[in-house]
């Protein structure tokens, strides 16, 4: 098992014929992902790395039984793309696109919930279940199959942490990039819940950052519902309040969402915290 994506995952890529789409279809195929279709309006009949392109998601689902979509379309078309996929019956939606207006994200996150679909992102690097499937733009070479579940709000930092786990021989069941935007479909809680139920996952690593209260809520959830060991790293301990540090998620406002409050909440929940991102691997090795 794994969470959200596995060997039964059949991916349709929305925005398949752009530069990013073509590159990542190739990368996903190399990883072993079943990429069964691409969608770009007006380009039906073309192929990308042998994957057939359709005009819309419904056609792609009818022809290929795709059950998961990877959304790579530009920000201003993202809402339409997600609605289209959900209406076509897709149950797992991974949104990579960044800079999506948050009112759009709010709408499609609710529509996904209404359709009982899992939505990861927006502004997510994707999901990888080593040995099974990768749906996203995470660099494939860093992963190793194993029993550590990783959920993260940060992109590069995740790669760094996954890489250090793999170097120490600790593989991953699934790594979920939740996305750095203020509004995301799946939060730490959604990922924790799935990891708790997944029998391949023996320990969970959370990578958080300043801004919002997702970590504090996760801490509360861990206390009540999670029996597996949880480890965490929080970025932005020294970020100045009120400054936007690179992307929308990372802003401290009105004294809330500080690293200190997140660390305190995690410590209270018995989560082991790393000082440096690369220390996570040592902690998991020692206590995992």
């Amino acid at each position: 098992m794994a969470i959200f994506v596995d060997d039964k995952t059949k991916v349709v890529v929305q925005g398949a014929t752009g530069h990013q789409g073509m590159f990542h279809i190739g990368e996903m195929l190399d990883f072993g992902t079943k990429v069964v279709a691409g969608v770009t309006p007006g380009k039906a009949g073309q192929e990308v790395h042998g994957v057939p392109i359709f005009n819309d998601v419904k056609d792609a689902v009818d022809e290929t039984s795709a059950n998961t979509t990877l959304v790579l379309v530009p920000a201003r078309f993202a809402k339409d793309a997600v609605f289209e996929a959900l209406d076509a019956g897709i149950k797992t939606v991974v949104v990579i696109t960044e800079n999506i207006p948050f009112h759009d994200a709010m709408e499609f996150v609710h529509y996904a919930k209404y359709n009982d679909a899992v939505l990861v992102g927006p502004n997510s690097p994707g999901i990888a279940s080593p040995g099974k499937s990768k749906v996203g733009i995470l660099p494939g070479g860093i992963f190793l199959k194993g029993n550590v579940g990783v959920a993260s709000r940060s992109g590069t930092l995740t790669y760094e942490i996954v890489n250090s786990l793999s170097e120490k021989g600790m593989g991953q069941s699934t790594c979920v990039g939740l996305g750095g935007d203020p509004i995301t479909g799946t939060s730490f809680i959604g990922a924790l819940d799935a990891f708790e139920k997944d029998k391949d996952t023996k320990a969970v690593v959370l990578v958080g950052e300043i801004g919002g209260t997702a970590e504090e809520e996760a801490a509360e959830y861990i206390t009540k519902n999670i029996s597996k060991p949880v480890f965490a790293f929080i970025a932005g301990r020294t970020a100045p309040p009120g400054k936007r540090m690179g992307h929308a998620g990372a802003i401290i406002a009105r004294g809330k969402g500080t690293a200190a409050s997140k660390i305190k909440a995690f410590e209270k929940a018995g989560v082991k915290l790393a000082k440096f991102p690369t220390d996570i691997a040592d902690l998991v090795e020692k206590y995992g």
């Binding site: 590069t156 690179g246 440096f276």
Partner: protein, 368 residues
């Protein structure tokens, strides 16, 4: 983007929400047509201007001239006042607080209303703030409004007036892609009119493209930050003396944290993002040089961004222009070996781990 009060009020008027009569005054001539007494309000995109002396009531022309010259150009917590709003004085019966914002955990618009308006909402106790969440798929419904308005204990007519304002600001919040619409105070005048005496409207930057009627506000950035913004590079100047270049906001923040751990201070936050374009790396490194940090710390994890791409960009700048401060590098990931060779060749220091690199940077910054 935070709008100035007067621009927020323009949007209120467009949505049929009453505001006091007023206009921007640029010089003394603009006072003609205003009835005394009126109020002069400094236009700055931050709170606390009343306490700082940015809001003054004026009785006559002489008084107005004097106070106008005090407010114009005044510095309020780092913001220089360049615009002043003159507004009629309203006789207030009741002061309320009203806002709609985004609740990140519920992923829903959140309405907050309180009978304790006029003061800082952070200092109002929780049980006196009434909250209601709106499902964005169905939009605001009468029951949403009833549930909060009924708790305010207002007269029937007042309730109706406040209910109308809530439904109008919800419309504004959604139509203009707002992160926040706040009215503090929302007042009921002696004549029974419900009016917005202040406005805080914050529009989501990512949605500005669909609001061509909203002119961009001039944000106070340093010249280098402006330059970076034009080039699409996330670049923030901080107080310390170590310049950090990394890829991804999380990794860049984690790098600053590591410096703090070794008692150093980040001076620049430069996030290369997911670029794989050597030209952009070159521009970023040139910007960093111009910020004149004492030490530059390059921390890379190559995934989508390939380590050698970045190394080539950095080497190009150093070979062409030289460098007058030490550069510590720590490179991991895709093509790291090629990158390390390029950087060594350019005369830079390569460290094995994040900790080593951070420690070395801090020592050099202290002049050790």
């Amino acid at each position: 983007m935070k709008l100035f009060e007067y621009r927020g009020k323009e949007l209120f008027e467009k949505h049929d929400i009453s505001v006091p009569k007023g206009k921007l005054v640029k010089n003394e001539k603009d006072f003609s047509g205003l009835n005394f007494p009126f109020i002069l309000k400094a236009q700055v995109p931050i709170g606390g201007r009343g306490k700082a002396g940015g809001i003054k009531s004026v009785e006559n022309l002489k008084d107005a001239k004097e106070k106008f010259s005090q407010i114009m150009g005044m510095n309020i917590r780092g913001c220089t006042v360049r615009k002043v709003l003159a507004e009629e004085k309203i006789d207030i019966e009741k002061e309320l607080y009203l806002s709609i914002t985004l609740d990140r955990s519920k992923r829903m618009p959140l309405i907050m209303i309180s009978g304790e308006g006029g003061m800082d909402i952070e200092s109002v106790p929780d049980e006196k703030i009434f909250k209601e969440w709106v499902n964005p798929l169905i939009g605001i419904q009468p029951f949403n409004i009833r549930s909060v308005v009924s708790k305010l204990k207002l007269e029937k007519e007042e309730e109706k007036g406040v209910a109308k304002v809530i439904s109008k600001i919800y419309k504004l919040f959604r139509e203009y892609d707002c992160e926040l619409v706040e009215i503090n105070p929302l007042i009921i005048s002696k004549d029974g009119e419900v009016m917005a005496l202040d406005s805080k409207v914050n529009i989501n930057d990512d949605a500005l493209y669909r609001h061509p009627d909203i002119e961009p506000e001039l944000v106070e950035l340093t010249p280098l930050e402006k330059d970076a913004k034009n080039k699409g590079i996330a670049f923030i100047q901080l107080d310390g003396n170590i310049g950090v270049i990394a890829n991804g906001a999380g990794l860049t923040m984690a790098t600053l944290d590591a410096l703090t751990h070794f008692k150093g201070d980040g001076g620049v936050f430069l996030d290369l993002g997911g670029t794989d374009d050597p030209e952009k790396v070159k521009q970023a490194f040139e910007l960093m040089k111009k910020a004149k940090p004492k030490v530059i710390f390059l921390n890379l994890f190559g995934g989508i961004t390939k380590c050698d791409t970045v190394a080539k960009g950095v080497k190009a700048v150093i070979t062409k222009e030289g460098i007058d401060c030490p550069v510590i590098t720590r490179i991991k990931g895709c093509n790291e070996d090629i990158a390390k060779d390029i950087l060594k060749d350019a005369g830079l220091i390569t460290a094995a781990t994040l900790q080593d690199a951070a420690q070395k940077s801090c020592e050099l910054a202290r002049g050790a």
